[in-house]
Symmetry: C2
Subunit: 677 residues, 2 copies
């Protein structure tokens, strides 16, 4: 039986290998790629020429492209005047002054050994093609070069976004800008700016200054900064859609304007829970929103405007006799009807300001016009139901990057899968795309990049590339390459971890600490919330191991792959075994080196049992390999003891998970099975 | 004999250990430090209050101090209103609008377990004291804290500078700013801005726009940027002194204004050599300089103005009949007299603009007034000679950080040593301090930080701290701590190496490449120049191993120390031997892992023999240890072979040095000596 199973696995493995042959490190993978012969050298003579349409925005992009290529390669370009351009760019037309949903992003890129040509109907397509060119450039034995290739590319979905919550933790403009650079690099085209929530109101209103004056901790964006960020995003082909979350998630509004709320107050930003809700029964509420939305509609030029609408728990409505009376007087059945009434009023205000309403699942109601867009945190079923009623939708279910899932899990989520797969072609067109969501309960400007990147790139690929681009091994290979490119772009998703580990250690030699950090991941889903016990203190330092480590451990994934390879070889793959032994030895011996440091600093004391567990896993794995090598089953007592140890190691410690516990457990179990030699 | 020698070494070692007991990680070490009991916790409640004099500049500094403390600790401060301040700051007076040489920088800082107090005669002293406080803060088992201490501090020398050459490679404003931050952190107070040289003129002149228009590659600072940088430096207590190097090193002037030159031209920026010189015999030259200096004197507010004056090779003067006739007509003996004449004219122009002249050794001439300052690249003897004639001086000999010396070598150079030691107290006062020099033949904005830092901090200590602060082990311990702090300040001296190694490798896993990079250093002194064969191409990429690695290898120094410890123990220190074995094993086994990568990228191909040599050294060292363990002398033939291998490994390969070759050679030699057990 074992041989047979191993045979199947081997077959699968070789399939994966075949698909992940040396390839172009492109992410998102273009719609069509045809490899050619030879390569275009990238050296000091590299030059760019623009023909056809161009404007200041395109010129700026070409300048940034050259700067970035220079950073990646370290080459200061000195093109010779008069020489034929290395890269010829041609756009037929310019872009819309305000980028539109569905604006043409297509391009064609041809690279030969003598030159490259990038053509696009609009300069927006040129932006996308330049990012592809940057990803093509690789170091080779003879120099930097772009391989000969013909690419025809356009996105699968027109709406490919990332939500960044700046309410729970304020994220300064410079951090947002570098994340916009990252988004542009992987062809995302919407920044969904979650500007208000219970914990803070972050956009300056000149009409209602107390929104930020009392509804924030003093950290907010001025209108000048907002305009600047929108221009920065536009230059990179990214729309900016503001979200002001109402009628729930709106406690921060009520500090300055308590009359808007359905409860008595007083309110503070620090409290937990999501009970405070706007009062949709008072005309004054709509007068306020009329003025506020008129102001914001001018500030944010995009045609879409997000009003949140999620998680209205209704407790304040239930407890307010006047509101309950209003519900009965208007023949409404429940709080949902009241929210629908609120949304209809809101929709009319937005329409007057030439904005299309976007909101979360909960806003879906037959009384709202079909023009609205529903963003689903609930799943494809919710999207499909909306589409069947004629509503457009966006998928965010499965794309919550704050939940610390591995890239592969996000990658597997497709907007057209499950319930959406059975929609008619017309209905499918209503699914506009999706958005990853970076909720900010547990991030600071220091570590936000590593929470978003590189994993965000695989969601970008899901939304841009053809549906059948889904090979996981290829994805991880390309993700690694993208991750490096992003650091050259100025993102800090890798370097910040080093800073944070140094801070925790208080010393420059963090070799042993890195060994530990390399194999742990933060707890998943909302488990950190559960462990927090009570309301989260959004001003507490985020400087623990869980805050420093990557959401996904490359080392653990690699180790797990090695163990699978070894098991599938019937324990005969000596190269894999040697590598496994090497890792296990490092882990077994690491605790002795690390313990003196762990005791010295308060930020590492909670990691003492973690380090001990890793050492124990190393020892257990090595013993298991010894049993396997001898071909004799390990004794039951030993097995029981080691499995219990591994079970223990799989539980969260200090809110992180030892990701190598499971594969070590697998080795222990294998060693205790009957002899196989 | 051996036993006796080992005994002495052991004695010395324990002395060093005694001096380097756990200590405050301060650099530069203050003039007086008295440790107290307990520590001041640094937590979210940390607050600062300013009494006495304050102005916008001090307020800004206090703000930056809090931001930096927050970055170091990861704590977002939320002081409670009404609570006693954690740190009380009091300055009696403000600072000069234009910082003066010798302005009071003294301060006193007292930390107890209940609070800290920083007092200073002027706000300039507060700046210095705040940097000391930042360095005091460390992570402890109970939290971040500043240990109780009483510090009374003032600088040994009033002029403590760093020269940054921006002519050979342009260094953008943002890179200069982060280096100013670094300078302020170690209490340096002069940025000597080397703004023109043969290869580029970098400061905008509105009167003579062709200076940058034709005399640069388009990269220069506008006057607005210059004013901005000066203000930035002033806020940090740093004077900015411009250098326009004349009459030599001035080729870049002649592209736009060829009539200034003593030769026929035409000139290009690319040529090698230092022959082109200004013509000091034409009155038009002085008319030009009158206008130019008047413009620059307004732009640069400091009282001092650097006119270079070095390395006037005189060939163009010799070859110009008119100039030779002028020399004879004015009764001059030689070119030196002509340069002195030029400098006298220049000095008068400077005096009219209320500037004091600074220049290199060569300007020293009895016809110049005693007010001028001589900066010596030649040594203390030159300084002493000047002082005996009544001239002020600055030492830069021994502080050329572009020469890639280890920190300890710079640290050992004292302005008052050698010839200067025998000066009278009055003459010694004329020695104002010194400047490190970052000449820019081989740096880019990407790697300049690692060329300057952290080594620059030890020169800062030499110029600030009492002369008897010179323990090398203590210096290296504290340097490590400062180096980490500097990364939190935004300097890239550590992170840039990672970027550059990633670029060279073209892949994310650079473990084996780092093992190699960790033990090599760039060739020293001017050896890279000699190897360059012909004029340097200042626009060539600087992306090789030599460009990426640190000027000084911590690993190699640590390994060498281990070998000394082991040898001095009579080969009995088993802990040291185990560590030595560990390193040797890593190196022996590294080449197998690294070779596949080295072949894949053109930037690593030159490192193939380097990696092979390291492996051979690892193997040789391990064999030597085996012989030593057995207590039998290694065979002569083996010894000869290994010593020849080590000799080979000590020679530069790819312009870098394998710094572990010498200690391995020592092991080989020891193993071949007679048995010792």
């Amino acid at each position: 039986m074992r041989t047979y199973v191993a045979g199947i696995f081997l077959f699968l493995t070789s399939l994966v290998v075949a698909q992940s042959q040396p390839q172009l490190n492109l992410m998102p993978m273009p719609a069509s790629v045809q490899s050619g012969a030879g390569q275009l050298p990238i050296n000091q003579a590299f030059s760019v020429a623009v023909t056809g349409f161009h404007d200041a925005s395109l010129d700026g992009e070409v300048q940034r492209f050259q700067t970035q290529l220079s950073r990646q390669t370290g080459i200061p370009f000195r093109p010779k005047s008069g020489a034929a351009p290395s890269l010829q760019i041609h756009a037929d037309h310019g872009r819309q002054a305000v980028q539109r949903l569905g604006e043409d992003e297509s391009y064609e890129l041809t690279v030969t050994d003598s030159g490259a040509k990038l053509t696009a109907p609009t300069t927006l397509g040129v932006l996308r093609g330049l990012q592809t060119f940057l990803q093509l450039v690789q170091i080779t034995p003879t120099g930097f070069a772009a391989p000969a290739v013909t690419i025809k590319d356009q996105p699968r979905f027109p709406w490919r976004g990332t939500l960044i919550d700046v309410s729970r933790h304020f994220i300064p403009i410079d951090a947002l800008k570098r994340n916009l650079d990252g988004m542009a690099a992987v062809k995302l085209n919407v920044l969904h700016w979650h500007l208000s929530d219970d914990q803070g109101f972050r956009a300056e209103s000149k009409v209602f200054p107390k929104l930020t004056g009392m509804g924030s901790d003093g950290m907010f964006y001025t209108q000048g900064e907002i305009r600047d960020l929108i221009a920065y995003a536009h230059d990179r082909g990214i729309r900016v859609i503001p979200e002001f979350d109402i009628p729930g998630h709106s406690r921060s509004w009520f500090l300055g304007y308590p009359a808007l709320s359905s409860g008595a107050g007083p309110y503070t930003l620090e409290g937990g829970g999501i009970d405070p809700i706007m009062d949709p029964t008072r005309e004054e509420t709509y007068k306020f929103l009329e003025k506020f939305i008129a102001e914001m509609a001018k500030l944010f030029p995009d045609a879409y405007f997000h009003i949140g609408g999620d998680e209205v728990d209704g407790k304040q409505w239930d407890a307010n006799a006047k509101i309950q009376a209003f519900i009965h007087a208007h023949g409404m059945k429940n709080n949902q009807d009241l929210q629908a009434y609120f949304n209809q009023r809101l929709q009319k205000i937005l329409a007057k300001n030439h904005k299309t309403m976007v909101g979360w699942d909960e806003i879906l109601h037959p009384d709202l016009p079909k023009t609205i867009v529903v963003q689903s945190w609930r799943g494809q079923q919710s999207l499909a139901a909306a589409a069947k009623q004629g509503y457009s939708g966006l998928l965010s279910f499965g794309y919550y990057i704050d939940l610390m899932w591995p890239a592969a899990r996000h990658y597997a989520v497709d907007p057209m899968a499950d319930a959406a797969a059975s929609l008619t072609p017309e209905q499918q067109k209503l699914i506009l795309g999706g958005e990853s969501c970076q909720w900010a309960e547990w991030v600071t400007p220091e570590n936000i990049d590593s929470h978003i990147w590189p994993r965000n790139a695989v969601i970008a690929e899901r939304l841009w590339s053809p549906q059948d681009v889904k090979d996981v091994a290829s994805m991880y290979t390309r993700l690694n390459a993208v991750s490096l490119d992003l650091e050259f772009l100025g993102l800090t998703h890798r370097s910040a971890r080093m800073h944070m580990l140094h801070r925790m250690a208080g010393t420059s030699d963090i070799t042993a600490l890195r060994v530990l950090a390399d194999v742990v991941e933060p707890v998943k889903d909302y488990n950190r919330w559960s462990d927090a016990k009570g309301p989260i203190d959004f001003h507490a330092p985020l400087t623990r191991m869980i805050d420093a480590v990557y959401p996904e451990s490359d080392v653990a994934r690699h180790f797990s792959d090695l163990v699978q390879t070894f098991v599938q070889s019937g324990y005969k793959d000596q190269a894999a075994e040697a590598q496994i032994r090497n890792w296990l030895t490092i882990w077994r011996d690491n605790d002795v080196k690390l313990q003196p440091l762990l005791g010295q600093t308060f930020l590492l004391q909670e990691d003492v049992p973690l380090s001990q567990s890793l050492a124990a896993l190393g020892a257990a794995g090595l013993q298991a390999l010894d049993y396997l090598d001898k071909g004799q089953p390990a004794p039951d007592a030993w097995k029981t003891q080691q499995l219990s140890l591994a079970d223990q190691a799989k539980k969260p410690m200090a809110d992180v998970l030892l990701m190598v516990a499971a594969p070590v457990q697998q080795l222990v179990e294998a060693s205790a099975a009957s002899g196989h030699n």
